[in-house]
């Protein structure tokens, strides 16, 4: 497809469980970002990848959150020991380079019960 693809679109998990959220960026985009959007709020920055490396993870709320991008394309956001406060829409975005506009996927809606 032409856009950023995120799977699953919805994920319901129990408190304390581990989850993985996947992002497939636009082909050829070297920059990849994860954002989190709570209801009624704007997206908040979590982490930025340039190629395979996490160039800036200053937005990750704590050490339960981790993300990888091993081959410089697909990225996975991993959340350990989920808490109810982690419930939100997790958005992935990619851009051609670090100065180009971000193009967002439709997000994964995570619900922790």
């Amino acid at each position: 497809g032409a856009g950023v693809s995120q799977t699953p679109s919805n994920k319901v998990t129990e408190k304390g469980k581990y989850v993985e959220l996947r992002c497939d960026p636009i082909s050829g985009h070297t920059a990849l970002y994860w954002y989190r959007q709570s209801l009624g709020q704007g997206p908040e920055f979590l982490i930025y990848f340039q190629g395979t490396g996490a160039a800036d993870d200053s937005g990750l709320p704590n050490d339960r959150f981790f993300a990888v991008r091993p081959e410089g394309s697909v990225s996975t956001l991993k959340i350990q020991r989920t808490e109810r406060g982690d419930s939100a829409v997790y958005l992935c975005a990619s851009s051609h380079d670090s100065n180009s506009p971000l193009h967002f996927g439709n997000g994964t809606r995570l619900t922790v019960t």
């Binding site: 950023v4 997206p43 670090s98 967002f104």
Partner: protein, 113 residues
């Protein structure tokens, strides 16, 4: 810390009734101001980037303008399909050269027949 405030929170217009959305910002050195449109259940869709005071950009019924402290999104003769949440964001430089966006909470626009 960068801050973005959008007003009004919600706006109801009749079809054809022009109006403006406001985005006020405080940032230590603006690198860019972005407007996005977000439909329910979707990710933000890029509309415009503005870089310097006095700059204007247009797309169909939308025009974005920028001053040193705020940006306006003018909607001329809106149609029901313009109904969406409009998000404003300011750009800061990330460690590693990435593009961090700080978003406002958005203006929810409803255009009625």
């Amino acid at each position: 810390e960068d801050q973005v405030t959008q007003s009004p929170e919600a706006l109801r217009l009749q079809e054809g009734e022009s109006s403006s959305l406001n985005c006020s910002y405080t940032v230590s050195g603006l690198r860019g101001l972005f407007w996005y449109r977000q439909d329910p259940g979707k990710g933000p869709e890029f509309l415009f980037t503005l870089y310097s005071a006095g700059e204007e950009k247009e797309k169909e019924r939308l025009k974005a303008t920028l001053t040193k402290k705020e940006s306006f999104l003018h909607i001329t003769a809106p149609k029901p399909e313009d109904s969406a949440t409009y998000l404003c964001a300011v750009q800061a430089m990330l460690t590693g050269g990435g593009n961090k966006l700080t978003f406002g909470t958005g203006t929810q626009l409803k255009v009625e027949l």
